[in-house]
């Protein structure tokens, strides 16, 4: 601050005309260490530390060897950094009889995540678009029912869905219950209410005249969606992707209920590693496994945080 001020003064001195014309301008400068700033930043720093401390403990523990951990000093930085726990967590940790580490769960999660995200967003995109721009008789009722669905607790629906997956699977001759396909379907259905709401509100905020102009220009239902609406929807798409990626990746309940041991997602496998009762507790491996599991949502947040906030705000304008 003071540097810039100095620079200006020097410049002004060089230019006599400007010196005469130039009084002090702009808002009155504030002191860096005012009482407000100390309070404000103090609070923020304390809160940030409070939230970061567990992460710090996890990181530090995950690169310590077991003897160092047994010494009991949780907050101390590692004396000797080792990545062995990370390797073990990824490739060697045992759940029951199989000792492939988290890697298998990771790939299972990826195979669940990608189709679920694509399917749920595609369906919600089209339904949100229809419910905002191509309203039909009863579309409001339909929408209300969909939203009510979002408020029913998952636990209520767990068992009925088991039956539905089993029976529909038997009827169609494919395995739905206990397979990745079934889980993908469940995730897509449960993503519907909130995503549809999100897209509907976003599309409702796009001016009606734009939609009319496209109709006069001869674009149909799909033409308007793909050529006019979709190119304008990047922020809301990012929001939807983040919601779905983190939600589905972090899901434990559906994963454990609707799949079998060989197709458990990463979260379930993490639980099995951490909670295994045989042998000694390898805290460093557990920490590394947990951090590995959390990397995907973390990565998504870091990459798209700004777009996320903008998209949420954009969808919130009109309801």
């Amino acid at each position: 601050m003071s540097d810039i001020g100095m620079l200006n003064t020097v410049k002004a001195a060089e230019d006599p005309v400007r010196r005469v014309l130039d009084g002090p301008r702009g808002a009155r400068p504030k002191r860096t260490f005012s009482r407000t700033n100390i309070f404000l930043y103090g609070t923020l720093i304390v809160v940030a530390l409070y939230y970061l401390l567990p992460l710090y403990v996890m990181l530090v523990t995950s690169v310590k060897g077991m003897p160092e951990i047994r010494a009991g000093n949780v907050f101390a930085p590692p004396l000797e950094i080792t990545f062995q726990p990370w390797v073990k967590a990824w490739a060697e940790a045992c759940t029951g009889v199989n000792c492939e580490g988290l890697s298998r769960g990771f790939w299972n999660s990826v195979r669940i995540l990608i189709p679920s995200v694509l399917l749920s967003i595609s369906i919600a995109l089209v339904s949100g678009y229809t419910l905002s721009k191509w309203k039909f008789k009863g579309s409001e009722v339909f929408f209300t029912i969909l939203i009510v669905g979002a408020f029913i607790p998952y636990q209520v629906m767990l068992y009925p869905i088991v039956i539905i997956l089993r029976d529909v699977g038997n009827f169609l001759g494919v395995q739905l219950f206990g397979s990745l396909t079934g889980l993908v379907l469940v995730h897509s259905v449960f993503g519907m209410p909130i995503l549809t709401l999100l897209f509907r509100n976003y599309f409702a905020s796009i001016p009606e005249e734009l939609f009319k102009a496209a109709r006069v220009d001869g674009a149909g239902f799909w033409g308007i969606l793909f050529r006019i609406m979709l190119p304008m929807s990047l922020p809301i798409l990012v929001v939807a992707i983040i919601l779905q990626v983190t939600g589905i990746w972090n899901d434990f309940l559906f994963g454990v209920v609707y799949t079998r041991a060989d197709s458990y997602p990463m979260t379930v496998q993490l639980n099995n590693i951490v909670n295994s009762v045989q042998g000694i507790k390898e805290y460093n491996v557990n920490m590394a496994a947990t951090l590995l599991t959390g990397l995907v949502p973390l990565f998504v947040y870091f990459v798209s945080g700004k777009l996320f906030v903008r998209g949420i705000a954009a969808g919130a304008v009109k309801g």
Binding site: P207, K212, D217
Partner: protein, 377 residues
């Protein structure tokens, strides 16, 4: 739905069958739930005509335009464009182009993309698209803007692009939905003149919705004044101004609006208190007999003042209440026969509040309405 518009055929190809009418609307009804927005509406628009739909907000003018465009489905009735029944036709198959108040340009496309979007949808060849886009750009003088995005254009430029989007489609009928309302006053006047020039160059049928009577008077071949989903009067601007069909139209057109005095018509003489107005030279719609309640309407700018008063058919006196100098004119508010009375005088007129002002009235320029039906006598 078997009829489909051939996008290649020029408007001229289809003139023969339509008998001079470009757009015909028959008994059009539109209801939103219990609300009747349009009622048994009939309207014929001539080939090449500039028709303005004028009315205050909520009168149904934009609704009517949306029905013609095919963006709203009527409850009942039919719409013909160039003699073809298009009531259930898609907007793009009606041979119409539309310009919106908010411009409604596609924000992610360049100006060129905006202009060619409709043509691409109609599967025109690339050469034809290029030819039409450059022609429209030349007419509207937007060649230098073709590769810009709408976000980088000013309001006036955006509206030009929006007009261009209708222009490239080479349509029979242009529909304008308050196209100038979002522009500032000066730009609005400029674009108004440009629109008029465009119409005299293209000679397309144009239907133009506005609530601005200056736009209506200056642009229109005919004006349809709407109220409550019905057309009150459909006539040339001159006719509407000089011979309004009813009191609503008389009141709506003209600024400041017409002065009304309510009194009695005895034979051919209007009387109110001690004011007596023999309607000499008045163009009667139907010659009156006996005595009846009547309203006389006199436009503020038709009141005779100054030296000309001596030669006026009828003379009276108004006490100036409020004087509003407006530069080009001076507006005087006073009372005549116990009712508010406005007079528009020359900008140089020196009138003070409280002055007693001799005025003259020419009955041949006044309007008479029945006080019960409010229709022109």
């Amino acid at each position: 739905m078997t009829m489909t518009a051939d996008p290649q055929s020029r408007p001229a190809d289809r003139t023969a069958a339509s008998g001079g009418h470009s757009v015909e609307i028959r008994d059009l009804d539109l209801q939103f739930g219990a609300v009747k927005v349009l009622q048994k509406l009939n309207l014929d628009v001539h080939e090449g005509e500039f028709l303005v739909l004028l009315g205050s907000s909520g009168c149904g003018k934009s609704t009517l335009l949306n029905c013609i465009a095919g963006l709203l489905e009527p409850t009942d009735g039919q719409i013909f464009i160039k003699g073809r029944n298009v009531t259930w036709e898609e907007p793009s198959n009606r041979g119409i182009g539309m310009v919106f108040q908010s411009y409604a340009l596609y924000p992610q496309m360049s100006v060129r993309g905006n202009l060619s979007f409709g043509l691409k949808n109609a599967r025109f060849s690339r050469d034809e698209i290029e030819r039409r886009v450059s022609r429209a750009a030349e007419i509207l003088q937007i060649q230098p803007l073709l590769d810009r995005k709408p976000g980088a254009l000013s309001g006036g430029q955006r509206q030009r692009v929006a007009i261009g989007r209708a222009l490239v489609r080479d349509v029979d009928v242009f529909l304008f939905d308050e196209p100038l309302s979002n522009l500032d006053a000066k730009l609005r006047a400029d674009l108004r003149v440009e629109l008029k020039r465009l119409h005299s160059r293209l000679r397309n049928t144009m239907i133009y919705v506005t609530h601005d009577q200056v736009e209506a008077m200056t642009l229109a071949d005919r004006i349809a004044i709407m109220k409550g989903g019905e057309i009150m009067q459909l006539a040339s601007p001159d006719e509407i101004y000089n011979r309004p069909k009813n009191r609503y139209v008389a009141d709506f057109i003209g600024s400041p609006s017409m002065n009304f005095l309510e009194g009695q018509l005895q034979g051919e003489t209007f009387r109110k208190d001690d004011l007596s107005l023999p309607m000499v030279g008045y163009d009667w719609a139907s010659r009156p007999q006996g005595e009846r309640g009547a309203i006389v309407g006199i436009r503020p700018e038709h009141v005779i003042t100054g030296e000309l008063v001596a030669g006026a058919p009828v003379r009276a006196e108004v006490v100036a209440d409020v004087v509003e100098p407006m530069g080009s004119d001076t507006l005087v508010w006073g009372t005549l026969g116990g009712e508010a009375f406005r007079i528009r005088m020359d900008g140089n007129a020196r009138v003070k509040e409280g002055d007693r002002l001799p005025i003259g009235i020419d009955p041949s320029r006044a309007s008479l309405f029945d006080s019960r039906t409010e229709l022109r006598l």
